[in-house]
Symmetry: C2
Subunit: 614 residues, 2 copies
């Protein structure tokens, strides 16, 4: 049963890089440009971009999810972050591209040091936000050069086999899943606009468009979005800008009840009507081209956080009920998978790809799977230590005995998006592995059981997940949790549990709880459940409304990897009660053999679990 | 034995406010100004300002430590923060001044809404930083008005009884306390300059000047500073700008070994020599007047964090040894005070001022006290719940039975600055008080025993101090800790343990550890020790250098307020071991009666401490 929603082949295009860069240089010369910026971005700053927007991959061969290139007449630099330092050298031609660290030596710095005074550097204003454009413009100025907006991207002239842009049909997101009508949502968006006295809101994040208008689509991998923009004036009808071919009559009629449905080309014209008005835009997704168009027309553009983000992040009753149902369904698939894995892995023949395919299979068997919510991370042994590992035919390996296997995956169901990581032992784990796993678990439980006042931010909770690792001189180099959408993106703002999580955690938000530990070249550990922010009963004398988390994800945590002596009574109680819930809710849904397996692996710790007792 | 370094009289000048504002309006009219900004600030943005700079207090009657006024022809607003909402109404004339919240409704907002288009608002560029001036200028522009720099402050023309500026003598800070010569410090500052390729550093924070040149002074209350500026070029001799009358020959000669000693008036001239150079300035303390002067002369001014702050914050061996000695001495005074208090308070006659005077007396008896490091906060009963309470003759009250008494105080000794808070019970505390005190103590111990990787910030540790309070629906509305200087300011950057503490905690930094709980109208609790960041032994397999805290402060924590059942074994062990150390180090230094008292109050918790057993 091969995977339908993910593939393991990455074509290596390194050999083509030199020719493409040479062609680009020719094109730049024709246009009197001394250089070009090539971000890995589409027009709406999506995390996953359509194939037609993979200009960076076409030019450089590099297929990672974040990157940036600069090509001048005699230099070329490719910027990637710490996740991709190995991959980039495998994929690009390092004789052509100088590899730089995207964060530590960012493009602005390179521009300041490398471009010539008087030079003109081109950029595509559709692929950068205004903030980004200003940053590079400043760097160019500082080097005595200038930055020039180029509306027709030079790469598109050269890229002959460029895929067609996506044309997925928009589909309505049923009110029974959405829980609130588009009309009511628009009312709330307007109320927010009124508060800030703005004349209009330009909605450029497709997730915000999808949420507001209760539509979904299939323009991007793994995220059920339709590429569209919207303009919500403080008075009068909103307008939705979407390609006509993406709308069937029923959807069009439904949308027309709440908005004018217009084409993407109409947007530029409609921006002209904003003269003199204050227009709020989302600084993280609005293209510089749009910001410029509005400024040129005489609108006062206020860049800020997308006001829809917070409304979208706070799930309503229907979305919460949907998520609970989705997690029950997903838990069923996970339990079947884990039982299968536990049976098969000791045979010494399973590969990482086998595991990914089988897990996707179990999810498809639910009959409700729309997509995986991201390409499964399935890392055995040393591959587990690569935080954003993606298995390919080249890296695929047999999962050996004595190894840990880390599998991080998720599903898109109409009623909810899931994201779960389990780390399981194959054969006997070492004492060190059990020590590390237990410390990560202590961090996971610290978040799962946290009680905190209503205004608490994710940054304040993040350290609680690390204390047990710190005590051993260990840590993990990623956040503890991210927001999760409701049949939307598996990564959703504004809240997150991390050093950078300055947004307060509000009731109804769904976040991941995923501390980890990675021993380079040896193994990786991560235990991830999704959690829902709920009200906590206030003890007598409490002065502040309190919140806590309800764990949504339902799948056993490998007890063979737990050193129960390291857990406090409260921690043991949490694990046993969680396992009790998993057995109670998922047990009845799986077949007899998986049920028997589940019963064994969810027994209370206190009874003295041994790896032989099942 | 009255206090020498603090007084309890605050003259109420409310009756004079109307006349002074009227006079100011006359003066503004003469100068064709439509308004004036009056910050509570001196030329170097000191926390404590000289009496000669108390323009805000003169104009408004308000004596709080933070505030801002705006006076126009027909309006006047006074901005204070949450600490001062009651005090300000007592001190100013609210018929003249409209009271605004400094943070929630800041001056910029008021300007935008209240000043007339075409108006010209004056500000004294010596009393604002460039950042501050830009913020208000933007607000003025946004209202169609303009902001104008006024070099001779209109208030100074009117303020007849204005005190003379301070003229304290500069004194050398002995190398045995400083631990590093001025020459070596200047070398390090230069190395830092070289890294950023800047041509010079303008040093405008008097704390930075004092640290770099190993001088102290007496220009300000409670902080042994001399008001001076310095200019450190990347090459050539630094210059120190200081009034001649503040230097005796010996000090002058010592300073001249490392710098040109010049007068404050020379500074403006010397700035002219910076044309074409990149000059780094401290954005938090450099006056807008200086920033403008440099920009006018053609220097490239780079505003940033003061690079000296981090050097100063990391204490060297001599400073650490000094701090330990200072804390032993201060612990002796505190133990004598607490023993005295425990004996006297039950008599029912002690007032808050009695306690402040007696504590200062015990500190003076050490023969080493230079000043208190801030006015003692001594709040009994409801006064304890006022976080920044300062006792005056008006608010003074007898400390009653069944009350808590919170006393937060500190000393300036040449070898170190101290800051300690203890909360003690008078008579029998309620169960609620013991519950709250124990939760605060759990937070205090969580910080005292924290183990964390080297790059950890104060923001990451802050929540650990709150978890036990959160669980009861409680919290405190201030940070957990601030940096502390070495015979310098008791509040020192850049590190702090708070939501805003983004600076990593580095070995050698001294910070306070002071969680609290405040029940409005009833009582306040705070337990504060100073802690030193030290290296923690790395357990086998550790991957990161680890740090921890060494507690410097030595004084008992009131065990009558501890509910030992709420403490974990580890927490009890910390308290007992801390008390053992206090007895061992302080016991031999105090008289027989205090020693006997100390022995009783530092007995291990495990023996079952009862309020009757001493």
């Amino acid at each position: 049963m091969p995977a339908e929603f993910q593939n393991f082949d990455i074509k290596n295009e390194r050999a083509a890089v030199a020719g493409r860069v040479a062609a680009l240089r020719g094109e730049l010369k024709k246009r009197n440009l001394d250089g070009l910026l090539v971000p890995r971005a589409d027009r709406q700053q999506n995390e996953y971009v359509p194939a037609s927007e993979e200009r960076l991959a076409w030019l450089t061969g590099f297929t990672g999810s974040a990157g940036f290139a600069i090509v001048t007449a005699d230099k070329a630099a490719l910027f990637v972050d710490g996740r991709y330092t190995t991959q980039v050298r495998d994929q690009t031609d390092t004789k052509i591209f100088d590899i730089q660290h995207l964060v530590e030596a960012p493009p602005e710095q390179w521009l300041e040091a490398n471009i010539k005074a008087g030079g003109v550097i081109g950029y595509d204003p559709w692929l950068h936000t205004a903030d980004q454009a200003e940053k590079v413009a400043k760097a160019c100025e500082s080097a005595g050069a200038s930055l020039k907006a180029v509306m027709d991207n030079p790469i598109d002239t050269l890229w002959r086999e460029r895929p067609a842009p996506p044309a997925g049909l928009a589909v309505p997101h049923n009110i029974k899943f959405a829980g609130e009508s588009a009309a009511d949502k628009i009312k709330r968006v307007r109320a927010e606009l009124a508060k800030s006295k703005a004349g209009a809101l330009l909605v450029t994040d497709p997730q915000a468009v999808a949420w507001t208008f209760n539509i979904r689509g299939s323009d991007l991998p793994h995220v059920p979005l339709v590429l569209a923009n919207a303009l919500v004036p403080s008075e009068g009808r909103p307008a939705l800008y979407i390609e006509s071919r993406k709308l069937d009559n029923a959807v069009r009629r439904a949308l027309e009840e709440v908005a004018d449905v217009r084409t993407p080309d109409d947007l530029a014209r409609d921006l002209d009507t904003l003269k003199g008005k204050t227009v709020r835009i989302d600084r993280a997704s609005a293209a510089d081209a749009l910001t410029r168009a509005m400024t040129d027309t005489g609108a006062k553009v206020v860049r800020g956080a997308d006001p829809i983000a917070i409304m979208k992040a706070i799930k309503n009753h229907a979305e919460i009920a949907g998520s609970r149902a989705a997690h029950k369904r997903d838990g069923m698939a996970m339990v079947q998978f884990l039982a299968w894995f536990d049976r098969e892995a000791p045979g010494g023949k399973l590969t990482e790809i086998d595991a990914v395919e089988r897990l996707e299979g179990f999810r498809r068997e639910t009959g409700k799977l729309k997509d995986v919510s991201f390409p499964t991370i399935a890392g055995s042994g040393p591959n587990g230590a690569i935080v954003h590992y993606r298995v390919t035919r080249d890296t695929n390996r047999i999962i050996g005995s004595g190894e840990l296997f880390l599998i991080d995956s998720g599903a898109q169901y109409q009623d909810g998006t899931t994201d779960i990581t389990r780390t399981v032992a194959v054969g006997a784990p070492s004492d060190e592995m059990r020590d590390r796993f237990t410390r990560v678990l202590k961090g996971h439980i610290a978040i799962a059981t946290a009680i905190f006042p209503e205004s608490t931010t994710g940054a304040q909770l993040d350290p609680l997940a690390r204390v047990a690792l710190w005590q051993a001189g260990l840590d993990y180099d990623h956040g503890t949790g991210h927001g999760v959408g409701s049949y939307l993106s598996v990564h959703e703002g504004p809240a997150r549990i991390s050093k950078l999580g300055t947004a307060p955690l509000r009731r109804g938000m769904i976040l991941s709880n995923e501390p980890g530990y990675y021993k380079a070249g040896r193994y990786g550990i991560r235990t991830e459940n999704l959690v829902l922010v709920i009200a906590e009963a206030e003890p007598p004398g409490a002065e502040k409304p309190l919140n806590a988390f309800e764990t949504l994800t339902l799948a056993p945590i490998d007890r063979r990897l737990i050193d129960a002596r390291m857990l406090s009574g409260k921690e043991r109680a949490w694990l046993d009660s969680y396992h009790g819930r998993v057995m109670e809710e998922i047990g009845p849904l799986v077949d007899k053999s998986a049920q028997k397996w589940l019963e064994a692996v969810t027994r209370p710790l206190a009874t003295g679990y041994l790896s032989t007792d099942k």
